[in-house]
């Protein structure tokens, strides 16, 4: 059963906007999966059924799309999804040790979620930050030029201060090092969960709104 009726007004509004952005309803399936993830906490079967109803696709069609992409988390993830790049350039500069440190510090194996649901840890392929290797993301917000020790500190900080909005610039300042390029001025938008932070999805949080 779809539970679209339970979606927040805001989410339904965004869903409508996304649906009208394309010449074909089916095209909205990817953005809708993000909005559904935000609304339901994961892209589980229920979320997929919601998206099927919105797009007029069958649940099987939606499932075949959802399962193709790594960022639709069908089993849900913790409060902080820590993605460690272990592709070639990061590997050359010690990414495996960074991953090891994060696994150790959070007591969470690669690909799993901690028992208290605070952390999910995953190794990922290149995240386009190779000039600032090794690179990690928290809820897809970037930290470049991290070290084993700083990675441990990052995990302890997340655990201790539980930021409601994960801000890339803040993490970079506290735990980062070499960047791929000059980032320029700090951004005030960040992620409110492990869904990429975008206005269109309602997933962007603003520093100024932080309580």
């Amino acid at each position: 059963m779809s539970r679209l009726a339970e979606w927040s007004r805001n989410a339904r509004l965004r869903a409508n906007e996304v649906l009208s952005a394309y010449p074909d309803r089916r095209s909205a399936v990817m953005p809708l999966l993000y909005i559904a993830a935000l609304e339901r906490g994961s892209v589980d079967e229920g979320a997929q059924r919601d998206v099927a109803e919105l797009t007029g696709l069958t649940a099987a069609q939606v499932q075949s799309v959802a399962s193709f992409y790594t960022m639709y988390k069908r089993h849900g993830v913790g409060e902080y999804l820590v993605s460690v790049c272990t592709s070639i350039s990061c590997f050359l500069l010690g990414a495996d040790d960074v991953l090891g440190a994060i696994i150790d510090e959070t007591s969470t194996p690669d690909g799993e979620t901690s028992e208290d649901n605070v952390f999910s840890i995953e190794h990922v392929e290149c995240i386009g930050s190779c000039g600032g290797a090794p690179a990690v993301q928290v809820n897809y917000e970037l930290v470049e030029g991290i070290t084993e020790e700083k990675a441990r500190e990052l995990c302890r900080w997340l655990y201790g201060s539980r930021p409601k909005i994960v801000l890339s610039d803040e993490m970079q300042q506290l735990f980062g090092g070499t960047c791929s390029f000059d980032w320029g001025p700090a951004e005030e938008s960040g992620a409110i969960s492990a869904v990429p932070s975008l206005e269109a999805y309602g997933s962007a949080g603003r520093e100024s709104q932080q309580p």
Partner: protein, 429 residues
């Protein structure tokens, strides 16, 4: 040093992404002028005259590709911002630091191509890039640079931002079209090419972020002036992403033609800790490797790199020093392709898995003497004849790309691989 793409961000490092800065530095005046004074054909002609080649990896001449569009409408323009080739991070800088340059480039290109709806496909792992584009699109709409009747010209253009969700293969242009259509991101069999039958089966042009970011300069200064920059056949400037064991990693916008020696030692500052250079990858994870003995004095151009059996590809230069275990490095790259194979073609799906497994076996100290031949044999099944450029029996070039690290270590580091197998020593991976 001529900079085109990074001029604004170098001069205004604090606010190059702001609309006000863009406008204060001549931004959107070119669009205004083109809409008022140029025909669509004239815009296309400038791009053709510029000799601009695609910066997404295949180096295809942009003007020539644009010429393939049949006179059918609607047509679409899709901007490839899926940047996921390991080692590549240049488009991210262009998206984050100068989003309006890209948007004006899209508007000019779309006008030339008679397109009224364009898409920007940004990889899901680039939320900041997407937010910058999202905001810049809203600003451009607000100022009348996008939308209906742009600047009173009667020309309409809408641009839709589409976020990927973690799949390298969606960078392949036909997979990208499927992804936008709301399908699995699997490549299509070509022909038909997207220019003839693309998005929603309509004529479609797919171009890379960097490619299109050059268009405002080309229209402002004239195609021939662009063509005059740099060596023939490698016209213009180009963004390179330098990473690995160099002292100064980063993005560099350069005029092509310097030697690899100058690139690595002058631009990159040389190798960290004064170690010796072992090898480098000149054009992203898909490219065959280069070694100091043979390639340091080869010029960094599209043609010279190809003559020496590799490619500039996505512009990602990955440098490895003498401490690098080349089997471990090759394994890391093969593992990427194995993970990213969409699984449609048997040689790619099975072959990449086998390559990964055999390399892992060697790395875990259990290599067998037949493994060298086995690696080459599996590679030959994915890319028959192991030629360069590779023969392709698969639907897309991902499969054949996966053998580049294998042929490279076999050509240049065979003794080292042999030794690793003989030693039966485990390396942690």
């Amino acid at each position: 040093m001529t900079s085109i793409l990074t001029a604004r961000m170098n001069e205004y490092p604090r606010d190059s992404h702001e609309l006000a800065t863009y406008e204060a530095t001549g931004g959107y005046t070119i669009l205004r002028k083109a809409l008022a004074e140029m025909s669509p054909e004239a815009v296309v002609e400038e791009v053709r005259a510029s000799s601009l080649k695609g910066r997404g990896g295949a180096n295809f001449p942009t003007g020539v590709k644009w010429g393939f569009l049949p006179p059918l409408y609607p047509r679409y323009l899709v901007i490839n911002a899926d940047e996921s080739e390991p080692g590549t991070f240049k488009d991210r800088q262009l998206l984050e630091r100068d989003p309006h340059q890209l948007i004006e480039g899209i508007a000019l290109s779309a006008y030339g191509l008679e397109v009224n709806h364009a898409f920007i496909y940004v990889r899901g792992e680039y939320p900041k890039s997407a937010r910058r584009i999202e905001r810049a699109l809203a600003e451009a709409r607000g100022e009348g640079y996008l939308g209906k009747d742009i600047l009173g010209s009667g020309y309409d253009l809408e641009i839709t931002l589409h976020l990927g969700a973690g799949a390298y293969i969606c960078g392949e242009e036909t997979a990208m079209l499927n992804s936008i259509e709301g399908k699995r991101g699997e490549p299509r069999i070509k022909p038909p090419f997207p220019a003839v039958e693309g998005l929603y089966s309509k004529p479609t042009i797919v171009n890379n972020v960097e490619t299109i970011s050059n268009v405002p300069w080309i229209i402002a200064n004239g195609g021939l002036n662009y063509a005059a920059i740099g060596p023939e056949a490698s016209a213009g400037t180009r963004m390179f992403s330098l990473s690995g064991h160099v002292k100064r990693p980063g993005n560099y916008e350069i005029i092509m033609g310097m030697t690899w020696r100058d690139f690595i030692y002058d631009l990159g500052g040389g190798i960290r800790d004064e170690r010796a250079l072992k090898c480098w990858i000149p054009g992203g994870a898909s490219a065959p490797w280069f070694i100091p003995d043979l390639h340091l004095d080869v010029p960094v151009t599209i043609d010279d790199t190809a003559t020496h059996g590799s490619m500039l590809g996505s512009g990602a230069v990955i440098v490895m020093d003498e401490t690098t275990n080349v089997v471990a490095a090759a394994h890391r790259i093969v593992r990427f392709f194995s993970h990213e194979s969409c699984g449609l073609c048997t040689p790619c799906r099975e072959g990449t898995t086998w390559l990964e497994n055999v390399l892992l076996r060697i790395l875990s100290g259990q290599g067998r003497s037949i493994d060298m031949d086995l690696l080459l044999d599996i590679s030959d099944n994915i890319s028959p004849g192991l030629k360069w450029p590779p023969a392709q029996t698969t639907i897309c070039p991902l499969g054949p790309s996966s053998v580049s690290p294998i042929t490279s270590i076999m050509a240049y580091f065979r003794a080292e691989v042999e030794e690793m197998i003989a030693s039966q020593e485990a390396i942690i991976v």
